[in-house]
């Protein structure tokens, strides 16, 4: 399904854009991903290969990102745990 989005490009930028729907995107990787997701039927083998590579690369980045998120989650969790242990009444006192 194709959705047309309203876009707005600042005057001093010339972004890469999709050759099929002219949607401006921030980088070549995003164009490759966008083509693979929204125009899959129209791509030749080479372009599909490019999409797979971009998706793989992105998965690498995501792995690092997930680790950071996990770190923040641990902080939130233990932050709450210690805060609660400080503020709740101890039933054994």
């Amino acid at each position: 399904m194709q959705v047309q989005y309203d876009t707005d490009v600042p005057a001093d930028e010339t972004p890469s854009s999709c050759p099929y729907c002219q949607r401006p995107l921030g980088s070549e990787e995003l164009v490759a991903l966008h083509k693979g997701l929204d125009h899959w039927e129209r791509l030749d083998d080479e372009e599909r290969e490019t999409f797979y590579d971009a998706y793989e690369d992105e998965s690498e980045d995501l792995r690092t990102f997930r680790l950071k998120m996990l770190g923040i989650l641990m902080l939130v969790y233990f932050g709450f745990l210690f805060t609660y242990s400080y503020f709740s009444a101890n039933p054994f006192m």
């Binding site: 309203d6 995003l30 997930r66 939130v76």
Partner: protein
């Protein structure tokens, strides 16, 4: 799906469970209104925990990075070919609802009146307990049956229409104004105590609605202008049962229909979704003790009481709408996209609907359960209702349920926003980053909502 992502998902479930338990333990005794129990932890910590649950659920959603998995959840559906059955059924329910509407108005005008009318007059009980608390909940929990029930539409269908062209420029704005106006009337006038007044307001709304349908045609009026129908059509999108283009029924996962691209189309519809969220909050806000203190102080300082409620209604709506637009503007930066903030705002607006639904349920389920035997008793003999109606007394843990509904609404909203962002942005990391500003707004809003449902109640002064 690799083993690794399964592991992540199990981890996610375990963490959410832990956080929810922590939040529920915190809500110990924080009952919804009336039974003002004391929290076992300071209020700020309770509110922070609620915000923490929403923030953590966003962190967990960002672990779900498999596009195919997200899509499969939202595409899952089962269709039942029942269009002919539905059409016959709709004729019956519409005829019936016109009779019910006439009955409500008649009992409102000529039925039992007096100081205890709120518990003895069938008009008040049917409208507030039956319709606004009970029926609305079925719309977002099951599906939107309002088009088949709407008595005004049934009447308008048999009336002629002048077929004037509706000015396209106006879009959904009249319904935004209508929604705010209806809530203002509901807050400042004793509609839940005075049956005759309630009947008159219904008559006024009927006259307005029917003349609108007469001028512009039934479909235009009820699909564009009528605020009540629009509330139901948006609430209905949260529900698992959806109506397809062909008129069949389709079963989907709750909230799955909210990621569709054309659901909210234009700034006017975004404003309506935000208004829906705001009026639900406003309705709760004016019932708190803190509001009572605030209102008395402000009026004591010389502000006319009659201006206080509409001003706060409009200012609050402005604040909510401004916050949402600001989040959309920042989202363009964090996601490093060329989409306009308006385009981002339009796509993500439906994710606010589960929050409104969760909040409505938190607010009205207890009310519905405790007064439903009164409703049944009164309906058995509307003109001579029982003198001492039975009211169900809710157990102490019911307040925790209310808190849970608020949180579940927020969790569903976080998920819907995540899935929508995956649909909009080609980069998965970009999609997660587009959510940062919205999550900040959601966390703040959760804390506000939890404060409203857990703070001691008051009665709105000067109304």
């Amino acid at each position: 799906m690799s083993d690794q992502s399964h592991r992540y998902r199990r981890l996610a479930v375990a963490l959410v469970g832990t956080l929810l338990l922590a939040a529920r333990a915190a809500a110990h005794g924080g009952a919804l209104r009336a039974s003002a129990g004391s929290l076992s932890v300071p209020t700020w910590l309770f509110l922070l925990t609620g915000g923490g649950v929403v923030g953590a659920s966003f962190l967990l959603a960002s672990f779900v990075t498999d596009r195919a998995f997200v899509r499969s959840i939202h595409d899952w559906h089962r269709t039942a070919a029942v269009d002919s059955v539905l059409n016959v059924g709709a004729k019956l329910t519409r005829a019936l609802s016109v009779v019910v509407l006439a009955g409500i108005v008649a009992i409102g005008l000529f039925g039992p009146d007096g100081p205890d009318a709120a518990f003895r007059n069938a008009a008040i009980l049917v409208v507030w307990v039956g319709w606004w608390a009970g029926y609305v909940a079925t719309v977002y929990l099951v599906g939107n049956s309002w088009p088949a029930v709407n008595p005004w539409r049934a009447i308008a269908d048999v009336l002629p229409s002048f077929g004037f062209d509706y000015p396209e420029k106006l879009g959904a704005w009249p319904s935004v104004v209508g929604l705010l106006a209806l809530v203002w009337v509901e807050v400042v006038s004793p509609l839940a105590d005075d049956p005759a007044l309630l009947a008159l307001v219904i008559l006024g709304y009927s006259a307005f609605t029917l003349s609108g349908a007469l001028l512009f045609g039934t479909d235009t009026w009820f699909e564009t202008v009528d605020p009540v129908s629009r509330v139901f059509s948006y609430y209905g999108r949260v529900a698992p049962v959806q109506r397809t283009e062909e008129g069949n029924l389709e079963l989907r996962l709750p909230g799955a229909a909210l990621t569709e691209p054309k659901l909210v189309d234009g700034a006017d519809e975004v404003a309506f979704v935000v208004a829906l969220l705001w009026v639900t909050t406003y309705d709760g806000l004016v019932g708190t003790g803190a509001w009572e203190t605030f209102a008395r102080t402000v009026v004591g300082a010389g502000v006319p009481a009659v201006l206080l409620y509409p001003t706060v209604l409009l200012v609050g709506f402005g604040l909510f709408w401004g916050a949402y637009r600001l989040a959309a503007r920042y989202s363009r930066k964090t996601a490093e996209t060329y989409l306009t903030p308006q385009a981002i705002g339009r796509r993500l607006a439906p994710s606010l609907l589960p929050i409104a639904a969760g909040y409505h349920l938190a607010h009205f389920l207890g009310y519905f359960i405790s007064l439903s035997p009164v409703l049944v008793g009164v309906l058995q003999n509307p003109m001579v209702p029982p003198i001492n109606p039975v009211v169900i007394v809710l157990p102490a843990w019911f307040g925790m349920l209310a808190v849970t509904f608020v949180l579940v609404g927020h969790l569903l909203a976080v998920w819907v926003a995540h899935a929508t962002a995956y649909d909009v942005f080609p980069g998965r990391l970009q999609a997660v980053r587009s959510q940062y500003p919205f999550v900040v707004v959601m966390v703040l809003y959760t804390m506000t909502s939890l404060w409203i449902v857990s703070t001691p109640s008051g009665s709105p002064p000067f109304v």
